[in-house]
């Protein structure tokens, strides 16, 4: 049963900032795909609900050869999935979206809501962090931008301050010979991942690794970079033994929590397997890109 609330519907981002600043016990709703479930369980019961779903100012996908990709917060998952420019320039984002929940949820749920929700099992965050994305947030007192990596603070907690909204995700143009691979492990095709791994590999001309970014999903309270593993890869040649070793680091550095779907040990094991596989996959893909 959802508790009663006062409904606020801003006509512009500016008005949204003001309303948000003005009302104390106020929660933002966008697609509501995550929020309404917790509201129905009575876990969230705000006095005011600020509905930003209709803010088309924040609903855009822009691409520029130099600046990269900018996605507005109220853009739906489905719009990202289907965007031709994203399919072309950031195929991993689009592929990730095809496995995020069902079509109905992707049709209504938004990227801003997903990131703000900060579910450690969320799919976009690991992929976007592997892509070195930034997030723009803002409120009545102005806007700020930070690496997406720094946005997540704890389970369902972010760097958003009171009165701040997520406004935009910015994905820079990837370096040459870079590719990102992502996979979650689950039993049903588009279920939340039991664990997930995103790996970005940038190659030198001689097929050695120039740079790597490895991000684990649902392996810790927030998306987890495995920097020791990244360092280990740098300068190395394609080597499946090495990937095993890198997987081992994921195994050790992750801090997954057991639940009915998998024990801690099993999750660590899966993380090591997926790390190995995603590095290999990203590497092979990177060879093929310019």
């Amino acid at each position: 049963m959802i508790n009663d609330f006062n409904y606020l519907k801003p006509g512009s981002v500016k008005e949204a900032f003001e309303m948000y600043a003005e009302h104390d016990d106020c929660k933002v709703i966008c697609g509501g795909q995550s929020l309404l479930i917790v509201m129905r369980q009575g876990m969230v019961a705000p006095e005011y609900l600020l509905d930003i779903k209709g803010l088309d100012e924040l609903r855009y996908i822009k691409y520029d050869e130099k600046d990269g990709l900018r996605i507005g917060a109220t853009t739906t998952h489905r719009e990202i999935e289907k965007s031709p420019i994203i399919q072309e320039k950031y195929p991993v984002l689009s592929l990730m979206e095809t496995k995020l929940a069902s079509i109905q949820t992707r049709n209504w749920g938004t990227i801003g809501g997903n990131l703000a929700h900060a579910d450690p099992a969320g799919d976009p965050a690991p992929v976007l962090i592997a892509l070195n994305a930034n997030i723009k947030v803002g409120g009545k007192n102005g806007e700020r931008t930070m690496p997406l990596e720094d946005f997540f603070k704890d389970y369902f907690e972010t760097a958003l301050e009171k009165g701040e909204l997520v406004l935009e995700v910015h994905v820079p143009v990837p370096p040459a010979k870079t590719s990102v691979a992502y996979q979650k492990f689950n039993l049903l095709d588009s279920d939340m991942g039991i664990v997930a791994v995103a790996a970005s590999i940038t190659l030198n001309g001689d097929d050695t690794c120039k740079d790597a970014r490895i991000v684990l999903g649902n392996a810790a309270p927030i998306p987890k970079r495995v920097k020791n593993a990244e360092e280990l890869l740098k300068g190395k040649k394609f080597d499946e033994k090495l990937f095993e070793e890198v997987g081992r680091i994921s195994y050790e550095e992750s801090e997954p929590v057991a639940d009915i779907h998998a024990s801690e040990e099993h999750r660590r094991h899966l993380l090591s397997v997926l790390t190995k596989r995603m590095i290999k996959k990203a590497w092979e893909q990177a060879r093929a890109v310019a």
Binding site: L188, I260, A262, V273
Partner: protein, 778 residues
Amino acid sequence: MSTEIKELKYSTFKTNIKYSVINTKVHNVDGIAKVTGRAQYTFDIKLPGMLYGKILRSPHPHARIINIDTTRAMELPGVKAVVTGKDTLGIKQGIWRRYEELCDEQILPLEKVRYIGEPVAAVAAVTEEIAEQALDLIDVEYEVLPAVFEPLDAIKKDAPVIHEGVERNVNVTRHIEWGDVDEAFAEAEKNGGYIREDWFRCSGQHHMCMETRAAVSSYTPEGKLTVWASTQSAYYTQALIAGVLGMREGDVRVIATYVGGGFGGKFELDAAMFCSAVLSKKLCKPVKIVFTREEDMIASKRRTPMYYYVRTAMSRDGQLLARESRMFSNGGAYTGMGATALYLSGFFHSFPYKWKAYRYDGYRVYTNTMPSTSMRGFGAPQAMFCSEQQIEWMCADLGLDPYEVRRKNAHTECYEVPGQAFIQSCGMTECIDKIEQWAKSKGDLGPNRAIGISSCGFMSGGIFNWFDSPYSFSSAVVTINIDGTVELHVGCQDIGQGSNTTMAIIAAETLGVKVEDIKVHSGDTDHCPADLGAWGSRQTLMAGNAVKMACEDAKRQLLEFAYAEMGLNIVYDLDIKDRWVHVIARPERGMKYEDLVRKAIRAKDGQRIVGRGYYTPHRKGMISPAYSYMMQAVDAEIDPETGKIKVHEIMTAHDCGQPINPLGLVGQLEGAASMALGYAYLEDLPMDEGKLLNPNLVDYKVIRAPEMPKTGMIDIETYEAEGPYGAKEAGEGLTNPTAAALGNAIFHALGIQMKELPLTPERILRALREKKEKEANK
């Protein structure tokens, strides 16, 4: 009817009659209502002045109820009534009405609660929201008691007592035995036979009907009660409600026009029916109760979790010599249908093989968990998981061909399961042949991928009357109107399995008319004859026979007039087909069915033609009048690094006698496969101290479209003399082989033996690790 009988290799006999309706593709008679959203389920019923009910449930697995104070709840504006055990005087009820001690469930208990989620009070209010708020205002004082959750703990001497006077919490036991088992094992040992024993653990499963349990009760001042219920048997619901409310059965009308799934979970009295009826009777207003998904999951019933010990002796050349099994099932807090599952599990555990000596001891043990009951397959999926895997492993241990071993031991027609059952038609051997051909035609499947098989059989109409119904098992009344249209009143319950369509097909075939001439009336106790309902795979055979008999009765009356009208020599045979009444030997000689009906009714002084039929099994053994048989093959691939299973295909060779409704048959096959596959590797009901850990559809996983593999069916047609037009069960038994077949696929793909359900990635990886360790130690 001229029936040419010809010998078929694999069947008792076969009619070569060309049917005009049977085994043709017809639309479901409820189809249009269902695809246009017109079908009204109990969930959709809204009556003027209707109140909404909610149920307060126990947070404790085992506790004495000291006091329930409803004062504050009653003070909440909009609340109309609150009822507790005091209002119902703790009447105990159960579906095993013949045995008082097994009627052990008070739906609103007086003294104590025995599982988390058990109802303790119910509220009726003007809105659902107010009713829910009122629940928080009911003060219940409990004395928490020690609780026990697993059958192997509950059966111990010093375990908490769940039902007073029930020693060691053993609810029921069942013993099945034939041959001299001890001697057979001794002899096997002496002769160098192979004996193997294993322990298995089979999980529970939730029915997960898409329509949760729901009821609308409307009691009116003339002392009559109408209940719309999501039930598998309108008659059971009627009789049970009348029983607990102290009313006459005839004063209770139960309506169940459309039911959103049953699968064995909806023919007992549930709290939605009971509480809405009690509240409505108290208020003389309609009251609606719909379970949330969470309530449905924590406080309905489930497939019975079972622990199986299986010991089997096989000769070195693959003859099955003896089996001895013990089973301990987690009965949960109450009996429900579980006693039947206990028996059937042990019986089908012997299927489909000719054991010389067989012994089964089943113990159903009470625990402080949600009650377990019947679910599609009725104890057999668990039994097959253990039996068919063990046999496969024994074949591998001995280097024998698993198809050959199964063929060698399989049931054949006219076989008697000693002291238990007589098998008439049986296509088991051909099922094995066909699956073997199919599997071998697939060739090499590559690494980590294999085909696993399992055979099994199932009953075609349970012969159980623990309910102590005074009525026939199935009845039908057919009425022919002046224009030839037909009203068919049946008691059997359509819960989606398509019985209305099956009955329409049988009626149309028998009367010689078209399916669109038949209007099926079902699911209303005021207008339809009593029937035990949709369980035990009864309907096609039992209700089908009743319908056939009713239609033959009506047709006989019509043909009597036809003889007179056409002035025929009495040695001529008449028949009706496609609305044409004709001499069989000279089909062109005849008259229109509509003309005959008009004349016949006139000649009957204006009475409509009425035919009656019924079916009650006699001299058909203890279990069923007939048995379906099948072998299933599952082609699965397992990722050895993650343990993830990908099922590529499921192929089933199936002997269900004469298929009646081919679309329905395929639907049953595919539906059973998805449910059974879910049972095999996804679905589980994990609990912590009696609390269900996944009471929602996020954490409880069911097969969805992308996971569902390709399915195929090889139809092995036999003719079952006991079934209408030779038909047998199709649908329930198909749930039985899948878990075992998947287990066997994993065995052949990875060389590991899985003894615990569901077959999760983690269990697979653990088994792989253990196998590696063992090999390293060798």
